[in-house]
Symmetry: C2
Subunit: 107 residues, 2 copies
DNA sequence: GTAACTTTGCTAAAATTGGGTAAAATGAAA
DNA sequence: TTTCATTTTACCCAATTTTAGCAAAGTTAC
């Protein structure tokens, strides 16, 4: 995946929709679609579920792609090292773990 | 690293500073330090360089830790799968690659 | 040239962010 | 128990960021 925007463009074209047609389905106008597809702006997270439905793809997969894109761009912008994601991953695992424990304790 | 906030607290305590003393050094007040250390708010990215200097640690390492924390929290909040970071990593690598190529072409 | 499609410049409202103050809460020592 | 140092919380705010809108310009294909 080059970017989330490029992914959206490819899926839209697979469906044979113009930017305007696609935009009408997700309730944004053509210029906004253009900016999203060209990575000038991000689509709102609130529309990801509708997007998955329109493209007939798994919601969680799309959501992952969305955040992966977001993180990648930020990591690139701030010149993070390649280690940043492994650190992030272990921390996310830790967060899941302690919150699972706390959930159990409360129960 | 449990979180960036906990990392800051540990380093501060190693130096024997109170939150108030530490806050004076980075020009934020005690309640703000408390929030940052307890992961209620993020420290501004603009202060990361000063932070590295105060803790006598490598700037790029601190910056990585900062973003790793940010990504981890977001990935956790939105229940991303464990794959999100590997996707992000390959995209970041791709971004570096195409921008290196473009740099060369322009040159 | 024309029509369909896409992009850009400028704007705006809403949301987010990182911090402040005042006061409450906590912890340790006497 | 009291006191004092330290930390946390409630409430607030200015600045910034964000996604989108409109109008118009630009591009592409026929």
């Amino acid at each position: 995946m080059a970017s989330f925007g490029k992914f959206i463009k490819a899926e839209r074209e697979k469906k044979g929709w113009s930017q305007t047609e696609f935009g009408a389905k997700i309730k944004i106008n053509t210029p906004a679609v253009s900016r999203i597809e060209n990575d000038r702006k991000m689509l709102s997270i609130s529309k990801i579920e509708l997007l998955a439905t329109l493209f007939e793809l798994n919601y969680n997969t799309i959501k992952d792609l969305y955040f992966a894109d977001k993180f990648a761009k930020e990591a690139y912008e701030y010149k993070c090292s390649e280690k940043v994601f492994s650190v992030a991953e272990s921390q996310t695992n830790y967060l899941r773990e302690i919150n699972a424990k706390q959930g159990k304790i409360k129960f």
